[in-house]
């Protein structure tokens, strides 16, 4: 995708997608004049095939699929440096959130499945327990990502240091969390929320 020539035409420009991103993020991509401050300060830009300023440029050109097909959005660390330094008040961190949500809802086609998996397990933990259960988070992540040996030496050490709890009890008011998840799903089903 990276090296393919980009042909701009009514067929390849998806303006609807960009409007969705703008609605979700509450930030306009058209304010950007490509100064590149966001990418200059971005700690993750070396890991991305499209650095932050190019993501905005691609959105300006209606190239949503090109953005979603890459791994850039899953390498953003949400450090907010870009948003802090943008001279035109483009909230790039919020745009990244919006892009991840759209990719998440479509369940792909992002190449970056590990970060998605970690996010999914993290949110599952909240729904099931109310709070994070870090040992479970790490163990299930390793199982599901097939990296059985990842941080293998670290786990027992952290347990012995009291940093990982073996067992975790649910919040006694856990029902209230389930209610929050259900009502958000309900609003989305009815089209009352994005």
């Amino acid at each position: 995708m990276k090296n393919k020539l980009m042909h701009l035409s009514n067929e390849t420009m998806n303006v609807g997608f960009v409007k969705k991103v703008e609605a979700l993020s509450g930030s306009s991509v058209r304010r950007c004049f490509q100064c590149g401050k966001c990418s200059a300060g971005c700690p993750m830009s070396t890991f991305m095939e499209h650095p932050p300023n190019r993501i905005v440029r691609l959105l300006q050109l209606g190239q949503g699929q090109r953005v979603l097909a890459g791994r850039s959005i899953w390498y953003c660390a949400s450090c907010e440096t870009c948003t802090t330094r943008c001279p035109n008040k483009v909230d790039l961190a919020a745009i990244m959130d919006a892009l991840r949500k759209l990719s998440w809802d479509a369940d792909g086609p992002s190449k970056e499945s590990y970060v998605q998996l970690a996010n999914r397990l993290f949110i599952e933990n909240i729904r099931t327990y109310g709070r994070q259960y870090e040992l479970r988070l790490g163990a299930i992540f390793n199982m599901k990502s097939g990296q059985f040996l990842k941080d293998l030496m670290l786990g027992p050490k952290l347990i012995s240091k009291g940093k990982l709890k073996m067992f975790h009890s649910k919040n006694r008011n856990i029902g209230e969390i389930e209610g929050i998840f259900k009502r958000i799903e309900e609003m989305r089903k009815k089209g009352e929320a994005l």
């Binding site: 949400s78 959130d97 970690a118 009352e192």
Partner: protein, 318 residues
């Protein structure tokens, strides 16, 4: 809550990390507040704030979780004290967004089945120490000044960014940590990486990223002549402390490591520094409590990976 005759007292949202991987932050926060005679009462039955993963993929969920926690916090008197930089950032962001956006506020109030409470002041431990308790009083309360301890104060991302949200300090050139360190008698060093990202929650999904970013932070602190790094975030602490040995292995001898062979040339950066000292990573509350004369046994030092005791003994602080 204004400082003065009345005893300072806060409601307290520790967050998930402080009950597990960052337990020494919780332990030392409680010990410090006790030593300063400041009240701290934990919010009952709080939930996870959603941290970065929730807002990364579902902003409405993130806002709702935080709004729920803010309404739980309303049941406890006093401004809400938060120690974790991520929880602090999420709670402040939620208040900021919902005050500005009536539509989102309506959706969140439906989700949490109640009014969103947006007026309880949310305060980070740093601002409680520097502004509410006050630097002058803090300096007066010091029993054991941290003389000769050179500290790299590490802010990371979420304490100051984005502007207008955390309201803690300047978003590009903060000084609140250095001010506190000076009040404690320590010597803050000038260094380049105090606002750079450590890789945060990629520690689970992409540890290679964390190793690279955190290595740069440790290197910068060593170059500046720091004895240790001070943090106010359990994720930063985890990355710099728990992964420090791994970072050393990954960047100590370029080319010959498993890390280098897996990630190829685009990851490890040339490492010319001979200085490979272990850098103990302290929470702000551990250093402050130590200066207040709290016994080191009550500060959770047994839970950290890089043992800080040799350094403290060397500086005659133990």
């Amino acid at each position: 809550m204004t400082p003065g005759k009345k005893k300072l007292s806060y409601s307290y949202y520790p967050g998930c990390s402080l009950h597990a991987s960052g337990r020494e932050y919780d332990i030392s926060t409680r010990a410090l507040f006790k030593a300063l005679n400041v009240g701290l009462k934990e919010v009952p039955d709080w939930f996870c704030c959603g941290a970065t993963p929730a807002h990364n993929v579902d902003e409405l969920l993130s806002l709702s979780l935080c709004a729920k926690n803010l309404s739980l916090a309303d049941q406890v008197e006093g401004d809400l004290a938060v120690a974790c930089a991520a929880c602090f950032s999420r709670l402040k962001t939620t208040q900021h967004h919902l005050k500005e956006d009536a539509t989102k506020r309506k959706q969140v109030e439906y989700a949490i089945d109640g009014p969103a409470s947006l007026n309880k002041p949310v305060k980070h431990i740093l601002e409680i120490l520097a502004r509410e308790y006050g630097l002058a009083k803090l300096e007066e309360s010091v029993k054991k000044p941290l003389m000769g301890l050179k500290v790299a104060a590490y802010y990371g991302c979420l304490l100051t960014r984005p502007p207008e949200v955390p309201e803690l300090d300047d978003c590009e050139d903060p000084s609140i940590m250095e001010d506190i360190l000076r009040a404690l008698g320590a010597e803050p060093v000038k260094w380049s990486h105090r606002m750079e990202c450590c890789g945060a929650n990629f520690t689970l999904s992409r540890p290679g990223v964390v190793l690279k970013l955190s290595n740069a932070i440790l290197e910068s602190a060593r170059l500046a002549g720091a004895d240790c790094i001070m943090v106010a975030c359990p994720l930063c602490h985890g990355n710099l402390d728990i992964r420090q040995k791994e970072i050393k292995e990954a960047f100590g001898a370029p080319d010959s490591t498993l890390f280098g062979s897996i990630f190829g040339s685009d990851l490890p950066i040339a490492n010319t520094s001979e200085d490979r000292r272990d850098l103990p990573i302290f929470y702000i509350t551990q250093l402050a409590a130590l200066a207040m004369g709290v016994a080191s046994q009550s500060l959770g030092f047994e839970s950290v990976i890089i043992d800080p005791k040799p350094l403290l003994r060397d500086k005659q602080l133990l």
